[in-house]
């Protein structure tokens, strides 16, 4: 059996090394992308951890509250008759030496479990030596004795590094300082962000009971929960993002599947005579099926193993891209080193093998059906396929209908499963249309378009089996590119329209540094007051954001000046009545929520929601739902007067400044800048804020572009490989053309025409199916996964450039096969048996 496999399968694969390599490479790339994205995604959601989880310890329970815990709570807890250890913490972010943003922790240094890297640091450090404050950092931020500048909120502070932390204990860089110093630089005014509770070893198993016991007697706004909860929340929060990333990462393998199908079916056609002979001398049909499936298994396994190695390398780049998206959309994250995960490797390799086997099933079964002694001509097979093209068109229609029906289904298990299957059905519909399109246009090519076009068209229509599969493969990649392009373009356009409508203030202020969804550094209230006094300033809208948990998921609770917003900003609601919302919010009985919040938590106008605010847990009526594209987690907005009732001393995170139309903007800007100097505050004019939003948006979607590029690369590579195979199989025809007076240039042009026609057919199918796919992506998958309402826009210029590039790449892919074709010796090929 193994000898047969070697002779009938491996030997021809070796003989056709070029195409074997291309097929292996396509599977390898497909598997590599899946593996790389899985490793990167896992890093982002799991071991990657939120930056705030980075300091590891043996704590079991955490106590936290929106806006911070009261200072006296620690005393109250310590007074309880429990054998527990309490570690208070202030948690924030600091910009180190005006470059990187790292987590900053205020802890009781002496009680902390962290061990310092240098043995000498074990001695009790003096935190206030000779008038300068001291911090501990990871080794990546500096060495002992060096000075370090930390910007926290809108102020910079100079510190001396007293010691470095053993980096094995933490994930990524961080700064650690004494609780008192942290209170001073963060402006917490005695409040603590978290109290971590360590249970005795004997009580570790009873963590839930202890959490419940501590909850007794606590103000209702305070959350007491096991420490692992936040990690689980992050995992839940990132679930939709990761899931969609994973689905997107399978596109390259899907394109690879077409190439496997193409390779195996060409093998079957080429070895038809051999198959007939083997059957005649006693080989069974089952043996033939097994043989060709073994060929596919070889591609799946060998390509898959190569893919795992490549994926491990790609993961390093992918983790950066995914990290950018996670930070921009969800949570500040620190990239942990990528580790080879066996479970992810098994899934990726398994996907490669499974897809290879499924793709090879139809041609392998066909090989098994070839009657003994019959060695049929290739032409007959393609004629059969041409005859079947009409039936395939009917399948395409049925799949189109199916995808429409599937896209109407509600989410299943929180995931848009109907939408995903609808996209597959659409890809299937496009693939089944390919033979009809190639045959129809190819057969109608006449000498009017030039003899090269005639020959190219007929050749494609004649070799329908392989040409239509190539078209289907490239069309799939183009469809994905088009659909994601339209979806991202529509999203971008919708967001810009939203920004133009929503962002009406003239100047925006926030503490300098990279923005992130879970970082809410503050601006001193003094600054806001000084700006209010500047002539030409009509209003200063203070916006304060807090990261809170709602139904076990992170949400941003924000307080703003509703009157200023309504008067100058002209915020309009997607659902609900504006006037009623303003009245309700000012009266402190209503809030408005963003669309993603409403979708994710099933909240409608008129519902009541309870949110943790300080030590209370008030309930509000949802008076309206507004469009928002800045956070996938969602917003709950209340009026600042209401927020102050629960969190009286809090300073704003952002300021929106409305200026008099007649005011000199440059002069006004200078006065505003002067009002906050030397505080480290970033000022954005309306236009630059818009640009900043676009920059973050583009950065967020960089990962999708990278995935599309790989799929297109696989498809174009497949075209090159398959064209080469086509040239080898048609060498006698090419030789004949030379006998009939064809010039070398005409042969070259014919091959390039073929490549170009494959590109054109693929573009036609890809763009049409891609446009339909984009509807599924925008209105089904996006809506059910993220809850955003996106208006359909066609990014014509971007799409045309991408398509022109793909067409050019396809034609370029024909260059080498064209060169091969012109180099064939016509005499040799005409006299070959």
């Amino acid at each position: 059996m193994s000898a047969l496999f070697a002779r009938l399968i491996l030997r021809p694969l070796w003989a056709d090394r070029g195409r074997t390599m291309v097929t292996l490479a396509s599977i390898a790339l497909g598997v590599a992308v899946i593996f790389a994205m899985d490793l990167a995604g896992e890093a982002a959601a799991g071991s990657f951890r939120s930056s705030m989880e980075t300091v590891s310890g043996g704590e079991d329970i955490e106590i936290l509250s929106t806006g911070g815990l009261p200072a006296d709570l620690l005393g109250r807890l310590s007074g309880l008759p429990y054998p527990l250890r309490y570690s208070p913490r202030i948690e924030d972010f600091a910009i180190v030496n005006e470059k990187r943003t790292v987590p900053l922790f205020g802890v009781d240094v002496f009680a902390n479990a962290l061990e310092l890297a240098e043995a000498g640091n074990r001695a009790e450090p003096k935190l206030t030596e000779a008038g300068q404050r001291g911090v501990f950092t990871t080794a990546g931020l500096g060495r002992r004795g060096e000075s370090i500048r930390l910007q926290v909120n809108d102020e910079a502070h100079d510190f001396t590094i007293l010691g470095t932390i053993d980096s094995r204990q933490v994930s990524g860089d961080l700064v650690l300082l004494d609780l008192e110093d942290a209170d001073l630089v963060t402006g917490r005014q005695g409040k603590i962000d978290r109290i971590l509770v360590t249970l005795p070893e004997t009580e570790k198993a009873a963590v839930d009971q202890w959490a419940e016991r501590l909850r007794q007697g606590m103000p209702e706004g305070i959350t007491v929960r096991p420490v692992g909860a936040r990690k689980e929340e992050n995992r839940k929060m990132l679930a939709a993002f990761r899931w969609n990333l994973r689905v997107l990462s399978y596109i390259a393998l899907l394109v690879g599947a077409f190439l496997i199908y193409n390779t195996i079916s060409v093998s079957v056609v080429r070895r038809r005579a051999e198959i007939g002979i083997v059957r005649a001398v006693g080989g069974t049909g089952r043996l033939m099926v097994a043989g060709f499936l073994a060929e596919a298994l070889f591609f799946g396994l060998a390509g898959g193993l190569l893919g795992l190695a490549l994926g491990r390398i790609l993961a390093e780049g992918a983790v950066k891209l995914v990290g950018l998206t996670v930070t921009a959309l969800y949570v500040s994250s620190t990239a942990a080193p990528v580790e080879f995960a066996w479970s992810a490797a098994a899934v990726s390799l398994g996907s490669g093998v499974l897809v290879s086997l499924l793709a090879a099933l139809a041609p392998a079964l066909e090989a098994g059906r070839i009657p003994p002694t019959e060695a049929m001509a290739r032409g007959r097979v393609d004629t059969q396929l041409q005859a079947a093209a009409g039936r395939q068109l009917a399948y395409a229609g049925a799949l189109l209908g199916l995808s429409w029906a599937l896209s109407l289904l509600p989410p299943w298990g929180g995931k848009p499963m109907g939408g995903y299957v609808a996209t597959l059905a659409l890809v299937g519909a496009a693939s089944f249309t390919a033979p009809s399109l190639v045959a129809f246009v190819g057969r109608r090519m006449t000498g009017w378009a030039g003899v090269e076009a005639l020959l190219a068209g007929r050749s494609l229509a004649g070799a329908l089996r392989r040409s239509s599969v190539l078209v289907a493969a490239l069309a799939t990649a183009i469809a994905m590119m088009t659909s994601v392009g339209i979806m991202v373009g529509s999203f971008r356009e919708t967001m810009l329209t939203w920004i133009d409508r929503q962002i009406r203030a003239d100047f925006y202020l926030r503490p300098a540094g990279e923005a992130a969804m879970d970082r809410h550094p503050t601006i001193s209230e003094d600054v806001a007051r000084r700006i209010e006094q500047i002539p030409g300033v009509l209003a200063v809208d203070r916006f304060r954001a807090y990261s809170i948990r709602y139904n076990g998921l992170p949400v941003i609770l924000a307080a703003g000046d509703v009157q200023a917003q309504m008067r100058y900003g002209r915020t309009s609601l997607q659902k609900g009545d504006n006037a009623d919302a303003v009245r309700g919010m000012l009266a402190g009985e209503a809030v408005i929520v963003s669309e993603p919040f409403g979708e994710k938590h099933g909240v409608k106008v008129g519902d009541r929601i309870t949110v943790p605010l300080g030590q209370a847990r008030p309930s509000f009526r949802v008076a309206g739902i507004f469009l928002d594209y800045s956070s996938e987690n969602g917003y709950i907005i209340l009026d600042q007067s209401v927020a102050r009732r629960y969190l009286p001393a809090d300073e704003p995170s952002n300021l929106a400044i409305y200026a008099d139309e007649k005011a000199d903007r440059a002069a006004l800007r200078a006065r505003i800048e002067a009002s906050y100097a030397p505080r480290r505050i970033a000022l954005f004019e309306n236009r630059s804020l818009r640009n900043e939003a676009v920059r973050i948006f583009d950065q967020t979607f960089a990962v999708t572009y990278a995935l599309e590029a790989v799929a297109i690369f696989v498809a174009v590579m497949g075209v090159a490989g398959a064209m080469l195979a086509l040239i080898i199989d048609r060498r006698r025809e090419i030789g004949l053309l030379r006998f009939l007076g064809g010039a070398a240039g005409q042969v070259r042009r014919m091959v390039l025409f073929e490549a170009g026609l494959i590109g054109l057919f693929s573009q036609l199918l890809g763009v049409l199916s891609g446009a339909l796919l984009s509807l599924v992506l925008i209105f089904v998958i996006n809506k059910q996964s993220f809850g955003w309402t996106i208006e359909f826009h066609l990014p014509v210029l971007a799409l045309l450039s991408a398509l022109a590039f793909v067409l050019l790449a396809t034609i370029l892919a024909g260059l080498y096969p064209a060169r091969m074709a012109t180099r064939l010796n016509p005499i040799e090929v005409m006299h070959e048996e």
């Binding site: 032409g379 000498g447 006698r732 053309l737 007076g741 070398a744 005499i827 006299h831």
Partner: protein
């Protein structure tokens, strides 16, 4: 001044002391050894001999598909050794028609498209090319077969299409490599008659390589080859 043959006609094909050698697996192989041959318009020669005696090599040299190692090949007075690839292609387009043993029709083209192919490759516009293709098909008595596909034809019909294609550009030299090798006797005879007619009607010099001694009965001369030499 163009040389004339014994009958006084300008030779369309003149092969003078031509040798062709090549190296196969490190060994020097002499495919043709000092061969000379001359054909005038309207002449029909049969080239006979065993497989490997050099018939096909001689046809390839005569058809401007290859260069001799020594000697000269002139087609319509042009020395093929002095032409580059483009020059040889031009010469084939104007002067040479090929017929093969296994017909060599492009399976993806219709009968008419196969026939007009040399004209289109030579740059003729589609309408006149199609008119001439239909004319050529009529000459081989395949009127009405224009839109059929090759797989819908019998072997004899396919070879007639191949002859129509070889003659569509009115070549002065028609080279046929075992044209009846794949046909039964009756069909083979029909094809031989057509070749004879081609020599007569179009004044084409027809050089036919063949295994079959019977096929030499319609030819003007039988050129026997053995081990790369003309006997």
């Amino acid at each position: 001044m163009e040389k004339r043959n014994l009958t006084g006609c300008v030779a369309i094909l003149r092969i003078e002391d031509v040798s062709k050698e090549y190296v196969a697996q490190g060994q020097r192989v002499v495919a043709l050894d000092a061969v000379s041959l001359e054909m005038a318009p309207g002449e029909f020669f049969a080239l006979v001999g065993r497989s490997g005696c050099g018939k096909s090599t001689l046809l390839n040299l005569a058809g401007a598909m290859d260069f001799p190692t020594r000697g000269t090949v002139r087609i319509a007075g042009q020395d093929t050794g002095r032409l580059d690839d483009a020059g040889l292609t031009g010469l084939r387009r104007q002067q040479v028609g090929f017929i093969f043993q296994n017909f060599q029709l492009l399976p993806t083209l219709t009968v008419a498209e196969n026939v007009e192919l040399p004209l289109l490759l030579a740059g003729l516009r589609p309408a006149p090319a199609r008119a001439r293709a239909i004319e050529s098909l009529a000459w081989v008595e395949l009127d009405g077969y224009e839109n059929r596909m090759p797989h819908q034809l019998s072997g004899g019909q396919m070879q007639r299409v191949a002859i129509a294609r070889a003659l569509v550009h009115r070549p002065r030299l028609l080279l046929a490599d075992e044209p009846i090798g794949n046909l039964d006797t009756a069909t083979g005879n029909l094809i031989l008659d057509l070749l004879r007619r081609a020599a007569r009607d179009f004044s084409a010099a027809v050089l036919m390589a063949t295994h079959s001694p019977d096929s030499t009965r319609v030819t003007d001369r039988v050129v026997e080859m053995r081990d790369g030499r003309i006997q």
